[in-house]
């Protein structure tokens, strides 16, 4: 059709010009005739046919010649186009024939036929070649026709992505299919040619059909056509043409065994590991093997090399997982559990860059320090107050299944891939890329990457020596190293007065009584938990911390840190100097939003973290939970919470929503802290010391301590009533200090945090097992005129 139009376009001006010439001639003759009617006609009639004279004859001949010339030109143009078109179709059909034929024999027989057709006049070959490719690739063939001219240009582009993806370890699994291709390999000694040769190949289909060079270029199209056909067989063919014969022969041998395993693994799955270009061209639901095949083509040599060593690694990483959880912490585990509970037989893959299975963090700064077991750093077990011991790991290793078995396990399971970091996320393609360049595609994904501890700029600038003596506390390895340090060092300084800093200070302070270790805690606020507790309570707490054996330096801003004589010297802005052996920096958490850029996810500027809606969803198939999620709390507004129970609650909610629940964040999470044997509190909601507060206190008796609370209720886990995953017991107590019967003794009570006269946060100070009432008050969101009346609901005088 386009040809016709172009032809007509060419003809039209000629036609017009010729017609104007004709008209002009006619006019002239007419005029001439009109003017000299008498003498001319006779002359005209006598000389030329059709009443035309000599001049007119010339004009006629010119016009005629022009018409003939244009017609001839048009004809040749059309013919040439058609010929090129037919050649293209031939080329495509031979390729598809190659791919769809399972045996080498048939492949061999086809090319001669194809070759013959190609050299012949075009039209005859078309019907012959057309039917055969029709079967394997009906949808692709029509798509290919208009794309044919485009594809000529495409090859150079498509080869570019394949080399980029080249290092991908997928090559081995696909090359695994090469055993089938071995015979085909042998008959194709031609090495892969460069992409620029691709267009040239269009003109030279001559060298045996299957051995067409430019592997990358055929590959995408081939993929498209072979999509409905058997995947296993197609990839061998593709690989066969690309890989030089010799190396390819080696690989089939080693990869033969891996082939069946990999094929069976990925067979049920629906991977989507294509470069976007290929995706656009190829039909949906493409098998795993075909995609890496194209990647293998562009650079067979390195691929072959990497095949040997990367085969084991690629086998461990499944290429597809219906549920993919990025991050292996509390939120991720809670989500895994939720998914498994709601979707029977679900296959869940957790990818974590830590070497450990999912574990809970609170004991790392509390219970583990109070354990009597000298090997606690190895066992990571802690004793709860009811005597029951448990590990910080949520579940023992036998709970999880191997990632290789994930796809084939009958009832599904949870697999954990440790030591692998997700570096890139392709939201359009529903897949992620790991740091070893393997790709995993998913149906639903959870991002629960948590965060990394912040560091002080002064320490970072202070150099290597200082950094070596600094601990940023978060993981198991940090606990192990700090435990080691605490046994050997003479003085440890904790910078930071929040939850982690204060808890570590108390834990180390207890050790100081045994070992003579000096424990210093410094922070810019006026008292411990200065950003959480109202000032009077913060001061009270600081006194308690000091009683635990900690040297507290309040209102301390660090100016610089230097290392002198193997000791650290901390210079404060007000001139004070603190000499110590080791520093623990507990100055906050930086949420890990590395994937935001590649995934195109929004990052919150106020709170940090990925911005998600009330149902924890960032985009269609992506949820975020835990420390990294900045979510919309229907009651309390947008916030980001860095507590253990929130990780459990949000992880569980994300898991529910990933299995279709569509529930918003509604169940308010709580948190707790224990600072010494007689300071313990549970809290819920927004607990910010900058808000106005109303505190209702009773006098504390010896009964109102964290230890007493757990002993009475018989549960070693104070928060067991909340979420069964949280396992923490209050601080092991030494003989309780005698109750201070001072008027300003804040023994136990309830503190309400108000925002616009509505209670948005509650602290239960040394008052336990009343969290449900607190949760209800926050959920109601009512304005209460007298908060003393509200406090009555808590029965603070009772146990």
């Amino acid at each position: 059709m386009l040809k016709c139009r172009t032809v007509w376009k060419k003809l039209a001006p000629l036609a017009r010009s010729s017609s104007t010439l004709c008209r002009q001639n006619v006019k002239r003759t007419g005029l001439n005739n009109g003017r000299i009617p008498t003498c001319v006609p006779a002359a005209n009639m006598s000389t030329g046919p059709g009443g035309l004279g000599g001049d007119n004859l010339k004009y006629t001949i010119m016009v005629g010649a022009a018409c003939v010339g244009s017609l001839t030109y048009a004809y040749f143009l059309l013919k040439g186009d058609q010929k090129r078109y037919q050649e293209r179709i031939e080329e495509i059909t031979t390729r598809s024939q190659r791919s769809s034929k399972e045996e080498a024999a048939t492949v061999q027989s086809e090319p001669p036929a194809v070759e013959a057709t190609q050299t012949e006049a075009v039209p005859e070959s078309v019907p012959e070649a057309a039917p055969s490719p029709e079967e394997p690739s009906p949808p692709a063939a029509p798509a290919e026709e208009p794309a044919a001219p485009a594809e000529a240009a495409a090859p150079s582009e498509t080869t570019a992505p394949p080399p980029a993806d080249e290092p991908v370890v997928e090559a081995p699994p696909e090359e695994a299919a090469t055993p089938v291709a071995a015979p085909v390999v042998e008959e194709e000694p031609s090495p892969p040619s460069e992409p620029p040769a691709a267009p040239a190949e269009l003109a030279e289909p001559a060298p045996a059909g299957p051995t067409e060079p430019a592997p990358a270029e055929p590959a995408p199209a081939e993929l498209a056509e072979s999509a409905p056909a058997e995947p296993a067989e197609s990839s061998p063919a593709e690989l066969a043409e690309s890989a030089p014969a010799e190396p390819a022969e080696h690989t089939p041998a080693e990869l033969a065994e891996s082939a069946p395993a990999e094929l069976t693994e990925s067979a049920p799955a629906e991977p989507a590991e294509h470069t976007p270009a290929e995706l656009a061209e190829s039909a949906p639901a493409e098998p795993a093997e075909s995609s890496p095949a194209e990647l293998a083509e562009s650079d067979p040599a390195p691929v072959v090399e990497s095949a040997a060593d990367s085969t084991p690694a690629s086998l461990k990483v499944p290429s597809h997982s219906p549920y993919l959880l990025i991050g292996g912490g509390t939120a991720s585990f809670a989500a895994a559990r939720s998914i498994r509970a709601r979707d029977p037989g679900a296959r869940v893959l957790i990818v974590t860059d830590e070497p450990d299975l999912p574990y809970m963090r609170p004991p790392l700064s509390k219970e583990l320090w109070f354990s009597d077991d000298p090997s606690v750093t190895e066992t990571l077990r802690f004793k709860q107050w009811n005597g029951k011991e448990r590990s910080i790991y949520f579940q023992p290793p036998s709970f999880y299944i191997n990632s290789e078995e994930l796809a084939s396990a009958e009832n599904g399971g949870v697999a954990v891939l440790t030591g692998k970091k997700v570096v890139h996320m392709d939201v359009r393609g529903n897949k992620v890329k790991l740091d070893d360049d393997t790709e995993i595609s998913y149906d639903k994904c959870l991002i629960a990457t948590g965060g990394v501890p912040r560091n002080l700029q002064v320490i970072e600038r202070a150099g290597e020596e200082v950094m070596k003596k600094t601990t940023l506390f978060r993981k198991i390895e940090d606990f192990k190293s700090l435990d080691n340090v605490s046994r050997n060092a003479k003085s440890i300084t904790i910078i930071g007065g929040g939850f982690l800093g204060s808890e570590l200070a108390c834990a180390l302070g207890r050790r100081s009584t045994e070992s003579g270790l000096e424990v210093i805690q410094m922070f810019p606020e006026k008292g411990n938990m200065g950003k959480v507790l109202p000032e009077y309570l913060s001061n009270w707490t600081t006194e308690k911390v000091k009683r635990e054996g900690v040297k507290v330096i309040a209102e301390a801003l660090v100016k610089s840190v230097t290392c002198k004589d193997d000791k650290l010297e901390i210079h404060l802005k007000d001139g004070r100097l603190v000499k110590t052996d080791h520093i623990v920096a507990a100055v906050g958490l930086e949420p890990n939003v590395d994937l935001a850029k590649s995934a195109g996810l929004e990052v919150d500027s106020d709170f940090g973290g990925y911005r998600v809606n009330a149902e924890l969803q960032a985009r269609s198939n992506i949820w975020v939970a835990g420390d990294a999620a900045c979510f919309y709390d229907i009651r309390l507004g947008r916030r980001r919470v860095e507590h253990h129970d929130h990780a459990v609650v949000s992880g569980r909610l994300a898991g529910e929503n990933m299995t279709g629940a569509s529930k918003p964040y509604w169940h308010q999470s709580m948190f707790w802290s224990d600072l010494g044997p007689d300071v313990g509190y549970e809290a819920i909601g927004i607990v910010d010391s900058s808000l106005p507060t109303v505190g209702v206190f009773a006098k504390a008796t010896a009964k109102d301590t964290p230890k007493a609370a757990t002993e009475k209720s018989g549960t070693g886990i104070r928060s067991e009533s909340e979420t069964e995953d949280t396992a923490t017991s209050p601080v092991a107590s030494v003989t309780p200090l005698p109750p201070v019967a001072h008027k300003d003794d804040y023994g136990k009570g309830v503190i309400f945090y108000l925002r616009d006269k509505v209670v948005v946060g509650i602290i239960l100070w040394n008052v336990f097992n009343r969290m449900p009432i607190a949760r209800k008050i926050i959920k109601d969101g009512e304005e209460h005129a007298d908060l003393n009346e509200v406090a009555k609901l808590f029965n603070i005088h009772e146990d």
């Binding site: 023992p396 709970f399 399971g413 009555k792």
Partner: protein, 149 residues
């Protein structure tokens, strides 16, 4: 008597026991039993089992989750006089699975409700078998031990 103090924006009230003896005048919003957002217990309002209940621990999500769900569902919907006596097969399958993971499902654990219900069903089964096989003493201890485990 209660004392009130104001420290800046913070109000501090000290109350004695007597101060709090009178019932509270604070009004709480009435709970909607069918609130879809609320966290539910073990049994949902429509009568189904909430597999995601924290009370179940990891039972429904572990390697033996499927077997546990089958057994517990059967027990829950059982209309027999001895509830769950028609679920022996499922419980047996569950126990077999759990025995393969002793780390996860310690055999001396008596806390899970499924175990107790299993015990009762096993016991009734054991009684019947022991009655029919009184002469073979070896089988009796076997059935008894399985009932106890």
């Amino acid at each position: 008597m209660s004392s009130v103090r104001q420290e800046g924006k913070d109000k501090i009230i000290f109350v004695t026991k007597e101060d709090h003896e009178t019932p509270s005048s604070a009004e709480l919003v009435e709970e909607d039993p069918n609130d879809p957002y609320e966290e539910r217990g073990l049994i949902l309002p429509n009568g189904e089992i909430n597999w995601n209940c924290p009370c179940l621990g990891g039972m429904a999500s572990g390697p033996c989750g499927t077997e546990f769900k089958d057994a517990f569902s059967c027990f829950h919907y059982s209309k027999e006089e001895v509830k769950g006596s028609d679920c022996l097969e499922q419980f047996r399958a569950m126990q077999e699975c759990m025995q393969r993971y002793p780390e996860l499902y310690p055999q001396e654990d008596e806390k899970s409700s499924s175990k107790t219900s299993q015990d009762s069903t096993e016991e009734s089964g054991a009684n019947s078998t022991s009655a029919s096989e009184q002469d073979s003493n070896t089988s009796q201890p076997d059935t008894e031990s399985t009932a106890e485990s």
